[in-house]
């Protein structure tokens, strides 16, 4: 995964997240597309890229959300690092293992996020273990779908290009 693709993934995630934020239903579902993108990138690249993507994505998300810049950044930095390290150590294939990685990463992200608020003595946002679990499941489902799409899109693009080339050759004949 090259830098352009990573940047694209994060940008798409942020745009979609902003779009989703306007829909109260999905916002209530707690889907964090930036987190999903960070986990997906970290799984595919490793801890270094994972933590950098997490830091950048988290801080941009913080800035866009109007909160304190850095809280989400730190949590996603750590998530990117941990997931990247996990992805280097273990080969994660199959939908269920990937779903579990997204689920765990989402829960850890929530705990880190609220933990930082607690440690820094800042006013806590609404906190609920049930909500955290719900968000984790939602992020897991979306994450698995995201990876599936990411893995299939390049192949589809290649296939389309091959078809396009083939048609042009046939047309010239």
């Amino acid at each position: 995964m090259n830098t352009k693709r990573i940047a694209l993934a994060i940008t798409v995630a942020l745009i979609l997240q902003m779009g989703l934020a306007s829909l109260s239903l999905l916002n209530g579902g707690g889907i964090d597309l930036v987190l999903v993108a960070v986990v997906a990138v970290a799984l595919g690249t490793g801890p270094v890229v994972g933590l950098l993507v997490g830091a950048i994505g988290g801080m941009i998300q913080d800035a866009l959300a109007g909160g304190i810049i850095g809280i989400g950044g730190i949590s996603k930095t750590l998530i990117g690092f941990f997931v990247g390290t996990f992805g280097v150590q273990f080969v994660v294939v199959g939908l269920v293992p990937k779903f579990l990685v997204f689920l765990g990463a989402s829960q850890l992200n929530s705990l880190l996020f609220f933990g930082l608020y607690l440690v820094l003595g800042l006013p806590m946002p609404m906190f609920s273990f049930v909500a955290i679990a719900g968000h984790a499941i939602a992020n897991g489902v979306v994450g698995v779908m995201w990876i599936s799409v990411i893995e299939r899109v390049p192949k589809m693009v290649l296939r389309q290009r091959e078809r396009y080339r083939l048609r042009r050759r046939i047309g010239t004949w």
């Binding site: 490793g46 801890p47 270094v48 933590l51 950098l52 830091a55 801080m59 304190i68 810049i69 850095g70 809280i71 950044g73 730190i74 930095t77 750590l78 690092f81 390290t85 820094l120 003595g121 800042l122």
Partner: protein, 281 residues
Amino acid sequence: MIDIRRRTGYLLATVIVVQILLISVQVNSSSGAPLIQTVTFGLFSRVQIGLSDGLTGLRDVWTGYFALQDVSKDNVRLRQEIASLKLRLQEQGAMVRRNESLRDLLAMDRSVDLSTVAAEVIAGDVTPWFRTLTIGRGAADGIQLDSAVIAPDGVVGRVVGQPAQGAAKVQLIIDRNAAIGGMVERTRVGGIVNGVEGNPPLTMNYVSNLSDVQVGDRIVTSSIEGIYPKGFLIGYIERVQRGPNLYQEIQVRPTVDFNALEHVLVVMELPRMQEFGQSSQ
């Protein structure tokens, strides 16, 4: 050129620190001060506390060990001074007690119409079988065999054996071989007081079962043996029991504390000599 891919830990730490700095710029701590200031102060104060503790520990080590060489000498000197002062105190206490003892002896000497010589007890028992002591007066001071020895508290014993020039051996009345004529002061009932192995260490024998003797009665010398002057206190009756034969069994507690004797008076004239002198006159 450092490859950050091999320095993931440093990169992570850098990114985290940068974000913490970013957070601290935005928010204040609960005390109102900027968070970065609070965190920095907290961290540095910990360092300061640690440094201060370390320096205090070093100072304690210095003052507690290395700088204590003079204190150690002072300590030794002070201990010697204390020991010397304690010794001096004991000496002074002994002098006070000796003074009191001599004063009692002097008072007794004045109250007794007898020719006496004051003597210091210089040694105690040398064997466990005899109850004797040695006094620092002897033949040179006019001490004779059988001279009676008394103390302010009562009768002590008599001189046994030929006295040396400067010392004499005294048989205590509590010795098993000692016997002294005694009588109950209240009723004038007479008997013989002997030393025994036991507690109390004296018994009064040959007192009839019919005689009036009670616990607590004072036993004084009767002078029937011709050694001890009459009327000197021997002890108190501690137990009285009717005997199986003709005589009562009487146990007597001596009034003299034989373990604490320091000075005694030696009677220079024997009663029988007095009587002999009076009769010859």
